[in-house]
């Protein structure tokens, strides 16, 4: 059984079909990349998985169980973590606090015990902080631990957001353009981290990415989308050399016409 199954999913915004009968499945332990031109429906698929949108038809199953009967805040509890294309961090909080919000899924206390801060709450806090420190070490965020997000540079924010998703201790990690706006060195760091997330933590990764170098470096399988439809599925090389994908990116018929003229 696949970890994540997208089964014939369609989503319309008025007359625009954002996702059109898309089906694919992500296997446990792989890095699966979604590529495609702008407006292909990649981020929309992410938002469908995190239940921000309801699909018009089709089903999304995680570990064999339909996600559609779960409210959006249950998705993290099931073990799916995500990052956002336009970083959505908690700006007026420190890096440490941001990562600790990721631990919300593992909260065992309720608000009454927290108002009194019973010993159990303190014990939980210690456990959460120990777990978050591991993420901080992994992503080398020590220097920024107590800094406010509002004052951090873009590249660091990107890493913090990935750390926040890792603090959830997910089974499936959704990365929405993890390398967009990063320098070459930073992108290489991201590539190493994704490898480690897969191999050391055993987390399955589904990512949207435009940087084909990163995609071919880390992903086991690649799915190309255009206009909400599946174009091609295979390894990075297979997808990149697929004529349909080339056409979608470069605009095949136009290019041919130009050659004729």
């Amino acid at each position: 059984m696949s970890l994540l199954e997208i089964d014939n999913v369609t989503l319309r915004f008025g007359g625009v079909v954002a996702v059109n009968k898309v089906s694919f499945s992500v296997e446990e332990g792989e890095v699966f990349a979604l590529v495609g031109p702008n407006g292909a429906g990649k981020s929309t698929l992410f938002n469908l998985i995190s239940r921000i949108y309801d699909p018009v038809e089709g089903d999304i199953r995680f570990d064999g169980e339909s996600l559609l009967k779960h409210p959006p805040h249950d998705i993290a509890k099931l073990g799916i973590a995500r990052t956002f294309q336009n970083i959505e961090l908690f700006e007026q909080a420190t890096v440490l606090q941001n990562l600790l919000v990721g631990r919300h899924r593992h909260r065992k206390s309720n608000f009454l015990t927290e108002l009194l801060f019973t010993p159990g709450v303190r014990e939980g806090e210690r456990r959460h902080r120990a777990a978050v420190e591991k993420v901080i070490d992994f992503l080398e965020l020590q220097a920024y631990r107590d800094k406010y997000i509002a004052g951090l540079p873009y590249g660091v924010r990107k890493v913090v957001e990935m750390g926040r998703a890792l603090a959830i201790e997910p089974r499936l990690l959704l990365l929405d353009e993890p390398a967009s706006g990063l320098s070459v060195e930073e992108t290489q760091d991201v590539a190493f981290w994704i490898e480690d997330i897969k191999k050391q933590m055993g987390v399955t990764v589904l990512m949207v990415e435009h940087d084909m170098h990163l995609v071919s470096a880390v992903s086991d399988r690649v799915l190309a989308l255009a206009d909400g439809k599946v174009l091609s599925l295979g390894t990075a090389q297979e997808v990149q050399s697929d004529p349909k994908v080339i056409e979608a990116y470069i605009g095949g018929s136009d290019a041919q016409e130009r050659e004729v003229a």
Partner: protein
Amino acid sequence: MRTVFKTSYDADINYFRHGAQAAWYMLLLVLALCLPFLMGTFWIGEMTNMLIWAIAGMGLMILVGQTGQASLGHAAFLAIGCYANVLLQEKLGVPFLLSFPLAGVIAGLAGALIAMPMTKLHGIYLAIGTLAISILTDDLIVIAEPLTNGVVGLFAPTIDIFGLQFDRYATPDRFYWLVLFVAVVIILVYRNILRSPLGRAFAAVRDSEVSAQAMGVNVARTKALSFGISTAITGLAGALMGHFAGIFNNETFNIIISIQLLLMIVIGGLGSIHGAFFGAIVVALLPQAIAISRDLVSGFVGGGTVAIPGLESAIFGALLIGFILFEPMGIYGRWLKIRTYFELFPFYRKDMFRRQKSYLKTERMR
């Protein structure tokens, strides 16, 4: 500047960052406890008033400063707390020791109930919605005359705890200590919220609802909880306000009080306990400051004291505009800067507190 060498997670969890900080706050507490021996009856009354405003401010701060939800209706919950407390004592004969926390619970439940439909609104719409609550409560008090005695109002009985009398006029010192005790308890509860998952869930909802949701935070429930806790604390402040005023009616908790509360925490500094207290100092002591300065001015210039109607509101408004323009972090923000200046002297730089100009999501209209 002190760098704390942290050797355990508790260093981040504890109330105080280091011993010296704890010592300073203990000194402040001792000073507050000794105040009745240093001040006359009138000024103790003013300090009591200030503390009650600070409690109400902390209540609103949890909602506005921590959770990012605007409310212009908190006078309603002051009223609910005040009426609940007095009615429980007068009609049902419940002792103050029970009626006071119950008043908080009732105000909290009312707040959480109202929050459920209300928190679907965002920003300015939420503010308008809560404004309606304030107006409605005013009317409801008048309509429910058999219970509330309408516009004539009610008398608050003298507080009696195991035979010990707490009265604003007969035993002002004792009343002050009672209010101080409540304030300290609320501060501790507030700190507990901030250092627990609940406080982080509030901050998450404030800064980005969509990613709070993706982290597993139930946004609707968190907002309702924030409203409930906020209005419960405000209700406690209302109960104390009733005992402080002695007599109250629907006008005591009108819409102006709601607005004044919100302005108070903005001037004090959003998102901090200090902000609630700084704001309360301004609100509670401003009338006295104006009176004193008026006497001074007339002393210099000569002539009789001229009462200018609306002067208090005008100065309050000017203060607010000044702070929003020049110090959006409020008095607490300014205090932090001054403290850092002396801690780092002579290495303070002007741009140390300059925040990166980023688009604040909390201010976005949704």
